[in-house]
Subunit: 320 residues, 2 copies
Amino acid sequence: MENGTDSRSKRKRVKEVSNPNGELSFEQYLKSNVQEVEQALPGYVPANWDIPSSLRESFLYSLMAGGKRLRPILVLAAAESVGGQAETALPAACAIEMIHTYSLVHDDLPAMDNDDFRRGKPTNHKLYGEAMAILAGDALLTHAFYTVVQASRKHGASAEAVLTVVEELAQYAGLSGMVGGQAADMLGEQGQTTLEQLQYIHEHKTGDLIVASLRAGGHIAGANAEQIEALTTFGRKIGMAFQIQDDVLDVEGEQAMIGKPVGSDEKSGKVTFPYFMGMDASKREIEQLTCEAKEALTAGSIPYPERLLQLADYLMKRNH
Amino acid sequence: MENGTDSRSKRKRVKEVSNPNGELSFEQYLKSNVQEVEQALPGYVPANWDIPSSLRESFLYSLMAGGKRLRPILVLAAAESVGGQAETALPAACAIEMIHTYSLVHDDLPAMDNDDFRRGKPTNHKLYGEAMAILAGDALLTHAFYTVVQASRKHGASAEAVLTVVEELAQYAGLSGMVGGQAADMLGEQGQTTLEQLQYIHEHKTGDLIVASLRAGGHIAGANAEQIEALTTFGRKIGMAFQIQDDVLDVEGEQAMIGKPVGSDEKSGKVTFPYFMGMDASKREIEQLTCEAKEALTAGSIPYPERLLQLADYLMKRNH
């Protein structure tokens, strides 16, 4: 997941961070969590379900297409940060990755962003057709709610905690959350977008599912209200930093590293943070938000914040 | 909801059915339940949520566009059939109507059935554009899971029962359920459909959400395993009868009464039950299935089956 000198310098820095949760370096931790999530994901589709083969293929094609697996890792790290077991949070982690994947499949559709490639591979509708891509997205969203319930069915999480996660996932992914952000993004392309609208779009289209990930991990692990609040602030700050970083990378990046044409947002008429604030101010904003995010976790309520702190730094320094 | 002589003869028949649940005639019962559901539906969108106005309009346009409200009424009647309160089941009823509505919005899209009208009104994408219709469908599906949780939050249903409803809704509406049925339907249009494939399509595209409705009402009302089994058999049978009836009405119906061009299925290359079995055998099958459905409820496990029995007859006799 990392390249060249940037990776080496980060590895050195990571080693200086104390790690009471285990022996793994941060890079090893990331890698082992990505593996755990990717091994678990297809297993949440019960083997005895009778599914049309094209739908199954289309569903799994996008779900297993790689990516940083950031949201599920945040779920697992949030659960561990308050003393919970990552294993219990694994269904919620995989559920949120399904929701994230459905949003990408639908966003790529011709009627939306009309993208032919994602992460260097053909988008779902290019391979399976528009109808099947719409249905695969619908199935991914639906199956997320089946999957999160398995935290209770298979790992003994309390029904009350899982119900809270269901309610919050539906809120943060829905009308006033991720779907609301995507709708605002679509509407914004039809006219002049203000900085205020851009903030609404970033907060909801990207930020809300990141916040939901941290809260879900917390709820499953039995976090108290103060801990949920700290995780929420952390998620809100890194979510906004993450999106500004995406904008910056789109301006600066190289096509091969992010898998879509550089400057494609600008071409499509999308406005970005650097458009309003300039590149330097955007980068300072990313650092400031990351700093504030980390402060929320080190104020005292979170007993094991290390992995989340490392994740915040990792996201700030990423180049894709 | 009814017209002319058919309505009058039915009203007479309904009066002969004893009704221990209340004083309302069946027509009054239907009407009052439709009103209750339609009054409740918009209330499940919290007033303080910040939602882009076009998305809110598109969401509510399809949700409040009328229709029989069959599935929510089945939820309420199933709850009452095992001695539960309809009020406790209302969130689940409204949630299932949201899932049904999302499926119609997405099915009507140009990439799917490409329908311009539904129930005599422009389809969602004709009014709001394809992107917003995709998002409104996504939001309806997502919000269904927010809504069903309110059975626990606002009406005291047990978290365990609501979690079971979440799990089953996701199963019956998802990969091997309604979405699977729609995928098989789309794939079927690309070639020769067999009777076996048609049965898979009907069972999943239409039948599964009807079964889920009955089971949801039962679970919320604390039904035991034998009662859930009886409600499931009833739902499976009336679901199949309902879809064969739809096929028959499409062949026989008049454009004004069903709101889409008569024979539109045949024109689009869709095969139907009458295509395979002929009209007379299809009608006999509807009666046979309805009879078997009613038997499942009168075998002894369901204490108050009357409304469901009346609903089965009403569906068999409907002309739209």
